[in-house]
């Protein structure tokens, strides 16, 4: 918790941390993203909503170059990202980008051959070269924060879905990211386990973590997001405050979409 507060003190509202400019992505002849722009400011929480297949995952995966955009630019700390792993000239490398931009997946993707603690310390030790002892202390602090300190020696297969996802969040946080990308992180969970994961994310939002969240949890999005973006057929069809987009949608397709998910 202390770490989070420390981070929020450093926030400088108004400055774009990560930015997508004119983003296009095609798979063969199929254009999935048709020119998207997004600027994520420090401490901002953006919720991405939209029908299945609208390109939400592709979009969020372009932000950390998990998918290489066909056209357009990703900027991190005002610097464009190059296509190589290492930094080159004026371009930041993909490796540098990913060190500072964490990602949490729908299916957790924990490393099954490593304990919970090792999952969380892997990045700091291997990628950042931090001493093991220091990485473990940080990991225990983070596991404590997500309520799983007592599971540190367990293997992922012995955890529930909700616990796995909280470990995955701790693993991403261990890199001390400036931005966190979350792609439907509760969609693979049994309904009764969704709450514990959302609570962790809510906590991060309250402590000033910059996040882009793809979600179908409308109530959660309305509650935690500072801005909501409605993606439809590869374009940003609507963007605004949660009140505008989720509570009083004007666009008819958005109205239909929101109505279905409010259930």
């Amino acid at each position: 918790m202390e770490r989070m507060q420390h981070m929020s003190k450093n926030t400088d509202p108004g400055e774009a941390v990560i930015e997508a400019i004119g983003l296009h992505k095609s798979y063969g002849p199929i254009e999935v993203l048709k020119g998207l722009d997004l600027k994520l400011e420090r401490g901002e929480v953006v919720a991405l909503i939209g029908p299945s297949g609208s390109g939400k995952s592709t979009f969020i995966r372009c932000l950390n170059m998990m998918e290489i955009p066909t056209d357009g630019t990703i900027r991190f700390r005002q610097k464009p990202i190059g296509k190589s792993f290492r930094d080159k000239g004026a371009h930041l490398g993909i490796g540098t980008l990913r060190r500072h931009v964490g990602m949490v997946f729908q299916h957790f993707n924990l490393f099954p051959h490593k304990t919970v603690l090792e999952n969380v310390t892997e990045g700091p030790i291997v990628v950042c070269g931090r001493p093991k002892r220091e990485a473990e202390a940080l990991a225990m602090e983070l596991l404590n924060q997500v309520g799983l300190a007592e599971k540190h020696a367990a293997y992922p297969n012995h955890l529930s879905g909700g616990q796995k996802q909280r470990v995955a969040i701790a693993r991403a946080l261990a890199m001390e990211p400036e931005v966190l990308l979350l792609d439907e992180v509760t969609s693979a969970l049994d309904p009764e386990l969704v709450g514990e994961v959302l609570a962790v994310i809510r906590n991060l939002a309250e402590n000033g973590m910059t996040m882009a969240i793809v979600t179908h949890e409308m109530a959660f999005a309305a509650d935690v997001a500072s801005r909501v973006i409605f993606l439809d057929q590869g374009v940003i069809a609507e963007t605004g405050t949660p009140e505008d987009v989720i509570l009083n949608p004007q666009n008819p397709r958005l109205q239909g979409f929101v109505a279905r998910f409010k259930g």
Partner: protein
């Protein structure tokens, strides 16, 4: 007609059997070691994304997977020297052929295990900033090797038995020695039964251990 077993006369040559067994073990372990190196290199080429490397690796694999080991041994010992204009030691030819043969199969076992690892693992490694090399060595390979273990052991057991073919190019392995003893004693039943028994004695513990390993791996998954 009753046959009078006479293991005694055969057993007088126990030192030949033991020496032959030793040679079999040496060629098996040697070719497994070289084969693992070749298999890894070939597997890396197959996964490299370079069309040239992939093609070379595939041609090599198909040649060695689609010709009998016996044919390969004969070719490397009798034909290859004519091609390069220098004679080749039968032991070198045997080790080379066995290694290339098993390497082609190992490469396929490794490759199959690596591509069977969920791509989410690679993505999760990439997402925390790991380089492709770090992701491969720390995340993918440990899981893939565990998955490859049963097939790897199986192929190695087959290799142990395949080694018997080197006797056709006069490498003095267990099968060769059994033939020698038979020539001395005119006791084929005893000579070859003892040989068979020695193969079983070597491999039975290994297949049992492999079954146990496989069960253990299934439980831990």
């Amino acid at each position: 007609m009753t046959y009078t077993w006479d293991f005694h006369s055969v057993w007088q040559y126990w030192d030949l059997f033991l020496w032959g067994l030793w040679i079999t073990v040496v060629y098996t372990l040697g070719s497994i070691a070289f084969g693992v190196a070749i298999g890894f290199a070939t597997c890396a080429a197959r996964l490299s994304g370079s069309m040239i490397l992939i093609s070379i690796a595939r041609v090599y694999q198909e040649i060695f997977r689609c010709t009998p080991l016996l044919v390969q041994l004969l070719w490397f010992y009798y034909a290859f020297p004519l091609l390069v204009g220098a004679s080749i030691d039968n032991r070198v030819a045997a080790m080379l052929t066995l290694s290339l043969y098993v390497g082609a199969f190992y490469a396929e076992i490794f490759r199959g295990a690596i591509v069977s690892i969920d791509r989410g693992q690679r993505e999760a490694a990439a997402a925390i900033g790991m380089s492709p090399w770090q992701s491969m060595t720390r995340i993918i390979l440990p899981q893939a090797m565990k998955r490859a273990l049963p097939a790897f052991i199986n192929q190695s057991v087959i290799q142990f038995k395949n080694t018997s073919l080197v006797s056709v190019i006069s490498v003095a392995d267990l099968a060769y020695m059994a033939a020698v003893v038979n020539g001395q004693t005119y006791r084929p039943l005893e000579s070859y039964t003892l040989m068979a028994f020695l193969y079983i004695a070597m491999l039975l513990p290994i297949t049992q251990a492999a079954d146990w390993v496989e069960r253990r791996l299934r439980v831990s998954d």
